[in-house]
């Protein structure tokens, strides 16, 4: 049993690293070297601590664990409250796992303002972990919004040619959604006097209010996921972001939307969620087919993978709103798998971008000749993205569709076409980049991946295969918490149904008795 506030420690440990980074002085080169080392060490410590936490996590319990609560604004009943369950713990692990990888991936490619870059990344880590641990909506909102700032800076400062356009587009899109969420949080607070997420699941929000609040949440989460049609910031942001920025964006930031649906929309607003499920299904299926087709036509490697992300996240939203064990666990698994696979794919693009400084697909070709190791790694992640059984990509899609079939065969049928299209655009990309004749002289001069890059890819490859062959190691610990969310959702909806039926019966009874009285008179 852990007796110290491990979640706070985990959240704010990166900030300690930031403090150290701020103290670094000296020539530009020493600063850069020390900044890299400090950031890497900090993030590795954080990751180790998260593993320690996982070790002590009770995997059979559905409850929140390691809960901390400190009065924050006592007069307002707003608390600093943190805790994790089987759903959030994996996102904490994912964030802590990807940050060191990002720092390693920027080791050589980022050369200007290294200190500030590393500070941004550690700040980002604090915000991400904090967001997944927060159990109070105000705290949640602060972290949720806070993520924006370092990401905005990372894209805007270390990005590509159109970085300013992309970073503003990213910022405004997400801010617009988040503002509505803030309004929703305030409305909930006004009505029920609390912002405690667990307490709010029990208060029973009236149905009409649920719908408004649900839509406000949708505005925020849909942009983050991103769902069609508010996805257009993603390709631009990815294209302009530095490699590590894309990695964290695809790896963790997109999951904040799905997490929000699972943590807030379903438990607090169950009736509205049921009411709007067809809307979510429709938007998700459009996302799957539409963005897969768009991905087919891309000429820019990063854009292609960005669009494929939208398609894959479509499966996530589909799975969440099936609200059955397979669907939700599939969605969770898909998020984790996509977090690793898309991160890895962006790293794969980064490898060749570092060497040739272009993302244009036609500039490459025949890499398998001079970069066989790279070709093998890229193939594994391509297959994982395609959803080949035995890789992590399969399990999520399979469970989501198996869950979805129980809700709607039409949507399953449509969503499953994404699996065919997914194979088409990924293999087409791979063929144009890796296969073919090796003719271009500058492509010929490219060197295979070096030990640092192998060190980055090795854990990702292991994870993708591990999660593909033995996914129950991930699904089993999350099952109790997922079951809790699902049971709560169905209990609430059933209760609402009976209440409605009762009300109707009473009405009818009142009417007949009134008529009876009239007759008697």
């Amino acid at each position: 049993m852990i007796t110290f506030p491990i979640l706070s420690l985990l959240t704010f440990l990166p900030l300690v690293g930031v403090l150290f980074l701020l103290c670094i002085r000296g020539s530009e080169e020493t600063v850069a070297r020390n900044a890299r080392a400090t950031a890497l060490l900090t993030s590795i410590f954080t990751f180790a601590l998260s593993l320690y936490m996982y070790q002590n996590f009770d995997k059979t319990s559905a409850d929140f664990q390691f809960v901390e609560q400190v009065a924050w604004l006592p007069g307002f009943n707003i608390n600093y409250k943190m805790g994790i369950d089987g759903i959030s713990i994996f996102f904490v692990l994912l964030s802590a796992f990807l940050t060191p990888i990002c720092i390693l991936a920027s080791w050589e490619s980022v050369t200007s303002r290294v200190k500030e870059y590393m500070i941004s990344f550690l700040l980002l880590e604090t915000m991400m972990i904090g967001m997944f641990c927060a159990l109070d909506m105000v705290l949640f909102y602060i972290f949720f919004e806070g993520v924006l700032i370092p990401m905005f800076i990372i894209i805007g400062v270390w990005g590509g040619a159109r970085r300013v356009y992309a970073s503003f587009k990213f910022f405004l899109y997400t801010l617009l959604g988040s503002v509505l969420m803030l309004v929703a949080i305030l409305a909930l607070y006004r009505a029920f006097g609390t912002t405690d997420m667990i307490a709010l699941t029990e208060v029973g929000v009236p149905e009409a209010m649920q719908k408004w609040i649900w839509l406000a949440f949708l505005a925020s989460f849909a942009v983050k996921v991103p769902m069609w049609p508010v996805h257009t910031w993603l390709p631009d942001a990815h294209v302009e972001a530095p490699t590590a920025g894309s990695v964290i964006l695809a790896g963790v930031l997109l999951k904040m939307g799905g997490y929000g649906f699972l943590r807030l929309s379903l438990p607090i607003l169950p009736e509205a969620s049921a009411y709007f499920t067809p809307l979510i299904f429709t938007l998700s299926v459009i996302a799957v087919i539409y963005t897969s087709l768009v991905a087919l036509a891309q000429e820019d490697m990063k854009k292609l993978i960005a669009y494929s992300s939208v398609a894959h996240m479509g499966f996530v939203t589909l799975g969440i709103f099936t609200v059955n064990q397979q669907g939700v666990e599939g969605a969770m698994f898909q998020m984790l798998s996509h977090g690793i696979v898309s991160a890895a794919l962006f790293l794969c693009v980064g490898v060749v971008y570092d060497r040739l400084h272009t993302r244009e697909i036609t500039r490459y070709g025949g890499l398998v000749k001079n970069m066989p190791r790279y070709a093998a790694v890229f193939m594994i992640f391509t297959m994982a993205s395609v959803g080949l059984p035995g890789t992590s990509g399969f399990v999520g899609e399979f469970l989501v569709l198996a869950g979805l079939w129980q809700s709607s065969t039409v949507f399953t049928f449509l969503a499953a076409t994404g699996v065919v299209l997914g194979a088409a655009y990924m293999l087409y990309l791979y063929r144009r980049v890796v296969f073919g004749e090796l003719t271009k002289p500058d492509v010929k001069a490219m060197k295979d991946i070096n030990p640092r890059e192998i060190a980055i890819f090795a854990p990702l490859v292991v994870l993708v295969l591990w999660m593909g062959v033995y996914p129950s190691s991930v699904i089993t610990p999350m099952a109790p918490s997922v079951a809790r969310v699902i049971d709560h959702y169905h209990a609430r909806n059933a209760a609402a149904e009976t209440a409605k039926a009762d009300a109707q019966k009473n009405n009818a009874a009142a009417q007949t008795s009134a008529e009876g009285k009239g007759d008697a008179e």
């Binding site: 257009t232 059955n324 080949l388 059984p389 399979f398 569709l401 079939w405 399953t412 049928f413």
Partner: protein, 643 residues
């Protein structure tokens, strides 16, 4: 024993794939071939035990996916059906592994090639030993991956890459059906384990469910969806166009994957699901119809092709059609028997063709061959054996299985059965014709290759001819040795509970009592086909061209493969890319961004410009604005007072 049979190819693949550079080509070949021999020995022992009186068994490894009621384990299930598949896979694969050592000796990436072959074998074995649908799907897609990698093995060639992608994506379309079928199974039966499903099938014989808004018979729905998967993998009409293109891969690959094993996975799937298909007579009719049509269409195309490998590829497709219509008339054992014999003689034909190609300095066009039978007599003889078996000449392997299929179709006494029978007879005639056309064009007549090539023509080394000889033994003997067990009186013991046939559907049993002419007709048409080929290509050599000229439209229709590829490119591939581009530029660019972020920012920008103009600094501008304001306010209040 089971572990050795299934896992040793995986070990081989990993060693050759990961440490190919360290152990070198020779090392990789030694390791993979050695492990394949071990796997073969193990599976032969399992086959001898289980199919001859032993008990089927399932070894459970560990939990794969557990989510709610869905509980799937990695398992090795060995019953009579998987044991038959396992020996086919391991024996042919071993022959192909060894053959490849010789065939690929010029290649730069031999270790990688051996690794892929072993990986394929492993995936295929996982497919047939699955005890649940998800592991079957794992193997199913795994062989698809290996096929993709091997078709595109010469990855500097554009045509090879295109063929590889085509194969993968076409198979994905089939897998789309298979996956939907699996979901339907899960929702219907609450489980994906075969035994648990089979136990419940009869309970659902009359249940209906909703699909895409239609009210459909549940088992039929499942049956059709699963069959779509089988169609993709087994290149049945409609989803077949990838198979001929797959010939871009090295020839040993064609023999192993695209003739003997992977393409028969669909047949295996339907046979495995026989307890279900027995309750869906309409679906079986559909299967028979598709199978018979495939057999016919593929045979007509094979008549006109000039690429030696493509002829054999279409022949494979045609033979797969036979297997499917056998399945469609409930003759599962006959289909499996044909799968078994076909594996040997078709692998033999492919490897023989490889030996020819090897001898002819990588020439595949039969128009540039001819007159080489004396130079490579051993290969020539083996090709004869393969063709005799394929044409169903008595006492060769194909005779027993093909005749049984045709007799069973006849004995089914249904209109679809009779259709399949007559179409099958016609296809048998064409089979014989194109097989001997191939033999005569390739080996006889005047040499049409350049002198340089002819000088190089040589018999293949021992490492290639020994596997060929082994397969030839199968092509000769597999029929009469095993016929009593697969389809004869001993079939009950041989198959045990692995195949389910309802008593009234026992076409294999009835087939033993068909009229004599039904038994003789296939032989007669086969002989006629051979004779006609002899006349066309040995005696009256100008006839083929004349006949083609006479029916030029029909000929070009067949030569262009019934225009399936053109059709798909027109209605599938090109529109998808165009639609993608449209959605990207017009949907995302002009509409969403145009009306959304970019539009809004433009609007804000122009609003700012306009409002800036208002602040002009001239007194009279401000005075004028004030005046308008005052008038407006006064008007407003007057109206209010009056109203």
């Amino acid at each position: 024993m089971e572990y050795i049979a299934v896992l040793s190819p995986l070990v081989g693949a990993l060693i050759a794939g990961l440490f190919g550079r360290q152990i070198g080509d020779k090392g990789a070949q030694l390791v993979t071939c050695g492990l394949m021999i071990a796997a073969s020995v193990a599976s032969v022992m399992i086959f001898r035990e289980i199919n001859f009186g032993g008990q089927p068994r399932t070894l459970e490894l560990f939990t794969w996916i557990a989510s709610g009621d869905l509980n799937v384990k990695w398992a090795l299930r060995f019953d009579q059906l998987s044991a038959v598949m396992a020996i086919v896979i391991t024996l042919v694969s071993t022959a192909v592994h060894i053959y490849s050592v010789g065939y690929m000796h010029h290649d730069k990436a031999q270790a990688r090639f051996m690794a892929y072959l072993s990986l394929f074998t492993f995936a295929m074995l996982m497919l047939v030993t699955a005890d649940n649908f998800v592991q079957l799907f794992f193997g199913w897609e795994g062989v698809g991956l290996a096929s993709y990698l091997l078709i595109g093995f010469w990855n500097q060639k554009d045509s090879a890459n295109a063929a590889a992608i085509k194969a993968f994506v076409m198979n994905r379309i089939g897998d789309f059906g298979l996956a939907l079928g699996i979901f339907a199974v899960f929702v219907t039966f609450g489980t994906l384990n075969f035994d648990a499903i089979f136990a419940q099938v009869s309970d659902h014989a009359d249940s209906y469910s909703e699909f895409l808004g239609y009210h459909v018979h549940t088992l039929s729905l499942i049956g059709v969806l699963l069959f779509i998967g089988a169609m993709g993998k087994s290149a049945q009409l409609g989803l077949h166009t990838w198979l001929p293109d797959a010939m871009e891969g090295p020839t040993p690959v064609s023999a192993l994957i695209h003739a003997a094993t992977m393409v028969t996975a669909g047949v295996f799937l339907v046979a495995r699901m026989s307890p279900l298909y027995e309750f869906t007579p309409e679906v079986r009719e559909f299967i028979a119809l598709i199978g018979a049509s495939t057999a016919f269409v593929a045979a007509t195309i094979a008549l006109t092709q000039f690429d030696i490998k493509r002829v054999i590829a279409y022949s494979t497709m045609s033979q797969l059609g036979y297997m499917f219509f056998a399945l469609g008339v409930s003759a599962y054992s006959a289909a499996m028997f044909h799968l078994f014999t076909h594996a040997f003689f078709k692998a033999l034909l492919f490897l023989g063709a490889g030996s020819v190609i090897h001898a002819m300095s990588d020439e595949q066009d039969m128009r540039k061959m001819g007159g080489i039978w004396k130079l490579i007599p051993f290969t020539y003889g083996l090709m004869w054996i393969g063709s005799l078996a394929l044409a169903g000449v008595p006492f060769f392997a194909g005779f027993y299985s093909k005749d049984m299929i045709l007799e069973a179709a006849f004995a089914a006494e249904s209109s679809v059965g009779l259709f399949a029978f007559w179409v099958g007879i016609a296809a048998a005639f064409m089979t014989a014709f194109y097989s001997w056309r191939l033999l005569f064009m390739t080996f006889h007549g005047k040499p049409r290759a350049s002198e340089k090539v002819m000088d190089h023509v040589h018999e293949s080394p021992l490492v290639m001819t020994v596997p060929l000889a082994f397969l030839a033994v199968g092509a000769i003997g597999a029929g009469f040795v095993f016929a009593p067990h697969f389809i004869g009186d001993l079939r009950g013991d041989f198959w045990g509970a692995a195949l389910t046939v309802l008593a009234e559907n026992d076409t294999v049993g009835k087939a033993h009592h068909v009229p004599l002419w039904v038994k003789l007709l296939p032989i007669a048409t086969g002989a006629a086909g051979i004779l006609l080929a002899f006349v066309f290509y040995m005696r009256a050599r100008h006839w083929p061209a004349e006949v083609a000229g006479m029916f030029s439209r029909l000929h070009s229709f067949l030569f262009n493969k019934w225009y399936f590829d053109e059709l798909y490119t027109k209605i599938g591939v090109r529109p998808s890319f165009a639609l993608g581009r449209f959605l990207w530029k017009t949907g995302d660019g002009a509409t969403i961004d145009g009306l959304g972020p970019d539009g809004v920012s433009k609007l804000v920008g122009s609003a700012a410009t306009h409002s800036r103009k208002v602040q002009s600094g001239f007194i009279y501008h401000y005075a004028f604005a004030m005046l308008i304001g005052v008038v407006a306010i006064v008007t407003f209040f007057i109206y209010k007072a009056l109203g």
